[in-house]
């Protein structure tokens, strides 16, 4: 501790007006206990059956007790602060609880299915017995999502460049409007559209790349919107600097705008991929399902991870089995891990691509 030149502090004779009355640090805990006790008392007195009412009463009573107490001791402003903080924290917890429960449940149910065979074998000839795996489905999902990305990412990026760098007036507004509308298109509608024009129109049988087209339609608005935001973040000063050096506009976009936004563009691309990786509805119509391995996305039914889950639960064939259910959970966990991997990958790549200052 360093002490500056000693100056005698004025001794305080009366309470400072800078200090206000505060509740003790344990006040929220005490309020929570009081809320629970009161709720239990109500449950006993009023004869509530079940715990749901008691739980919500306890939460409500906790808020009432803490806010009321704070109002008595700390005054109006701090009571409002306590109330708002409590609401914000409980919303956060309420949002987190289902997420953690789902993830935890998937891990617990899915992990037992994981073994080497599970990732290297298809379900060909396995049926409702033990063994088999999701190899075919994994390949199908990877191929279809990759093809969807190859279709949607360039179109989406170019659309975003158009909207940010060139678009003005009615046409750009129309593009923005339709992109927004596309964001809300239900996935089954995208599937139905491709089904009508590609499969019914030509008489083709379902195949993997048909699903990719529907996935691309679903990816496109996400890519456009997020890339647009990233490009808008590039300061106008950098474009000005480039123009002022006598650089044409297209070279400014390629050499200044895109590299500066690269980090964000990678993130938006991978998040868009993650968004469609678990898409199911259009695949029912367009890709079908195959128990055996089909590496060709351009011919024949292919398995996919979401369809694998559906199939193994017996919803497709009507033959449910314990082994099938275990495999379904294993596939669900694989899908979650795949999306997680994409998210983590997005963050790592984005960090690498970020402009450095040192």
């Amino acid at each position: 501790m360093t002490s500056l030149a000693a100056g005698s502090r004025p001794t305080r004779t009366q309470p400072s007006e800078l200090v206000g009355a505060r509740l003790p640090r344990w006040a929220p805990v005490a309020a929570a206990v009081a809320g629970v006790v009161l709720a239990l008392a109500l449950k006993a007195v009023l004869g509530w059956t079940g715990w749901l009412t008691a739980f919500f009463s306890a939460a409500l009573l906790f808020v009432v007790v803490l806010t009321g107490w704070s109002f008595r001791v700390e005054g109006r402003r701090r009571a409002k602060d306590r109330l708002a903080s409590t609401l914000i924290y409980s919303s956060f917890v309420a949002a987190l609880v289902p997420l953690v429960l789902i993830l935890g449940y998937i891990v617990v149910k899915g992990l037992p299915a994981f073994n080497a065979d599970f990732f290297t074998h298809s379900m060909n000839g396995v049926g409702s017995r033990a063994g088999g795996g999701l190899y075919a489905a994994f390949i199908g999902t990877l191929e279809q999502v990759a093809i969807a990305a190859i279709i949607a990412l360039p179109i989406g990026l170019f659309t975003a460049i158009y909207l940010v760098e060139y678009g003005k007036g009615g046409f750009a507004r129309a593009v923005t409007f339709f992109v927004d509308v596309m964001t809300g298109v239900p996935s089954i509608v995208a599937g139905l559209f491709v089904y009508t024009f590609l499969l019914l129109g030509t008489g083709l049988r379902p195949f993997g790349a048909a699903g990719s087209i529907a996935l691309a339609i679903l990816m496109l608005p996400v890519v456009v919107r997020s890339s647009e935001e990233m490009l808008k973040l590039v300061p106008r000063e950098l474009r000005d600097a480039s123009y002022a050096l006598g650089v044409p506009k297209w070279r400014t976009i390629v050499k200044v705008v895109l590299p500066t936004a690269l980090s964000g563009l990678i993130t938006s691309a991978l998040l868009a991929i993650a968004r469609v990786a678990g898409e199911t509805a259009p695949l029912i119509l367009l890709v079908g399902y195959a128990a055996k391995i089909n590496n060709n996305p351009f011919h024949g039914d292919q398995a996919t991870l979401p369809m694998f889950v559906w199939d193994q639960l017996g919803k497709r064939t009507g033959n449910a089995s314990d082994f099938g259910e275990a495999r379904a959970w294993g596939a669900a966990l694989t899908l979650v891990l795949l999306v997680l991997l994409l998210n983590v990958g997005a963050r790592l790549l984005a960090r690498l691509a970020r402009p450095k200052t040192r």
Partner: protein, 259 residues
């Protein structure tokens, strides 16, 4: 060779809004000209018309003539890209490219435009430009470090080096010192005095002492009122503007009795 600029009856618009009305100035080669005036009077806007940067802003357009050694910059077959290669610009806020090293920032005008040169040529250009911007000694050990890691004053000198690396004939500076401390400001003012030997320089500044220190001639812009276009009130030798201006508005502004 440094060029002469003659602006004739220039009106500058943002869409339908007239920002600068009927401005005419003649700027001699190898001189420093300062634009002064209150905020919003159109002096930066006017500056940006001298290398066709104004039209980068949606709705930006001009009527009238800007002659560079007699050639109209707004002629129908003039390519704005070529204009900007001839008339360089330094901005108010230092804007080095964040994805590039110091070295790459200096030769950005060549690199981004796709001009190929040998490594030796680029090395020469980088050293000459950084020396020209009085930055060489400070950064010669770390040319491959990011330009964004330099201090504000160094970044602004890096931007000047970048602008002179492409060998323009005119250098426009839009309040280049407004975000800098007095020492960095002095460094840039000294630099302007040196650059005057090779370039025609036009500088916008809010700092009247700076205008008096660095410029040969000074133009005073003013607004008639809110919503009115900016006008060129007086344009004369700097010594005359600051000692014996012919317009009352100029005198009020430079003596701080404005508004």
């Amino acid at each position: 060779m440094a060029k002469q600029i003659d602006v004739e009856n220039l009106n500058v618009y943002y869409g339908d809004f007239l920002a600068v009305q009927d401005a005419s100035v003649n700027i001699a080669p190898l001189t420093v000209t300062a634009f002064i005036g209150p905020s919003g009077c159109g002096k930066s806007t006017f500056l940006r018309t001298l290398n066709r940067m104004h039209e980068v802003i949606p709705g930006g357009r001009v009527t009238g003539k800007v002659l560079l050694d007699g050639e109209d910059l707004y002629g129908s077959d003039v390519d704005p890209v070529n204009v900007r290669r001839t008339v360089g610009m330094v901005f108010q806020k230092a804007n080095p490219f964040p994805t590039m090293s110091i070295y790459d920032n200096v030769i950005a005008g060549y690199k981004i435009a796709g001009t190929r040169k040998s490594k030796n040529d680029f090395d020469d250009i980088v050293e000459r430009s950084l020396r020209g911007a009085n930055l060489w000694e400070e950064v010669k050990q770390r040319l491959n470090r990011p330009g964004a890691g330099l201090s504000g004053g160094q970044q602004q000198r890096l931007c000047i080096a970048r602008a002179i690396a492409v060998e323009p004939q005119v250098l426009l500076m839009d309040e280049p010192c407004s975000a800098l401390d007095p020492i960095s400001t002095l460094a840039i003012e000294d630099l302007i005095a040196e650059l005057k030997a090779s370039y025609t320089i036009v500088i916008v500044t809010h700092n009247m002492q700076q205008a008096a220190r660095v410029s040969d001639r000074t133009a005073f812009f003013n607004l008639a009122g809110v919503g009115q276009p900016g006008r060129l009130v007086e344009y004369d030798e700097t010594s005359k503007i600051f000692s014996n201006p012919s317009q009352k508005a100029t005198e009020d502004y430079i003596s701080g009795r404005f508004g």
